[in-house]
Assembly symmetry: C2
Homo-oligomer: 172 residues x 2
């Protein structure tokens, strides 16, 4: 993928997509959250071609989502472990799970979330940290942050409401 503009480089969504916006990468991350650590774990669970898996793991280590450490000297074998940066993707994985259950298999739920201590079902919802109010389309806007370039600042001057229905200024 090419990048269109400097504004694109400033966008945290685009930056995140560049690191994790890939099907195999997301499935590898999912399996790491499920407990997979070794090459063979990922390979057998995902049915991913080994060269594809090796490339993805290499990249996930290089961008700091996994650490790699050797667990066997001969033959050399390594384990992959989620870093804090990788573990911070749990909300992404849970959001995919919740959306899938709600929109792709509403009458056919096969896997659900629960609290491991109380065994109570958990229903993931995205809220604002301080008010705990759900973040809904039409009720969240974007604005320039402290490090926005002048061009981006101008583009966001009036704010952009996400999923507002009417075409926003940015897109005209």
């Amino acid at each position: 993928m090419q990048r269109k503009s400097f504004a694109e480089m400033e966008c945290p969504i685009a930056r995140s997509i560049e690191q994790v916006g890939d099907g195999w990468t997301l499935l590898i991350l999912r399996n790491a959250f499920l407990g997979a650590r070794r090459f063979a774990d990922f390979e057998s669970r995902l049915g991913i071609p080994p060269t594809t898996l090796a490339r993805r793991l290499e990249r996930l280590v290089s961008i700091g989502l996994f650490t790699r450490h050797r667990y066997e000297a001969r033959p050399p074998r390594e384990e992959y472990e989620l870093t804090d940066k990788g573990l911070a993707l749990l909300p992404l994985i849970l959001t995919l799970a919740a959306w899938g259950n709600r929109w792709l298999m509403p009458d056919n739920v096969a896997i659900e979330c629960m609290d491991p201590k109380t065994k109570r079902a958990l229903d993931p919802v995205l809220v604002d940290r301080s008010t705990r109010r759900e973040l809904l389309p039409g009720e969240v806007a974007l604005r320039a942050g402290p490090c926005a370039s002048p061009a981006l600042r101008e583009g966001l001057r009036r704010g952009i409401v996400l999923g507002a229905g009417a075409p926003a200024a940015e897109a005209r």
Copy 2:
């Protein structure tokens, strides 16, 4: 991508990844949330090759994330609008934004979320709907849902704690 197992087909995360786990698709969805509606809007903002864009839009309509409607008869021109199923991906987009700001550009935040009415900053966090407690690694488990196959039910019998640190049963 191939699918490995029937269990894989039951996984809501894998199902979601199959629909939206692609870089261009995610960028197109982001721009739709920002207000883009027309082919030219997406094309100019993203610098995406037109054939790639056409293919992605076609697929997004076919899986029900966009509706398409004609806004000009001659020449025929169409607009794309997020459906409720598409709008339900707002948490995914906001989660990517929050992770990007926190982990990819912590000292360089260019875009942030705010409440369009109060202008107060918003900080997206994933919580359980009923308790409003943040969902953290090691504190969320997966279990079989009502429609799990016997094989999946057996695999999930002891539950899998996400990001628990120690390799979970599933991955051994």
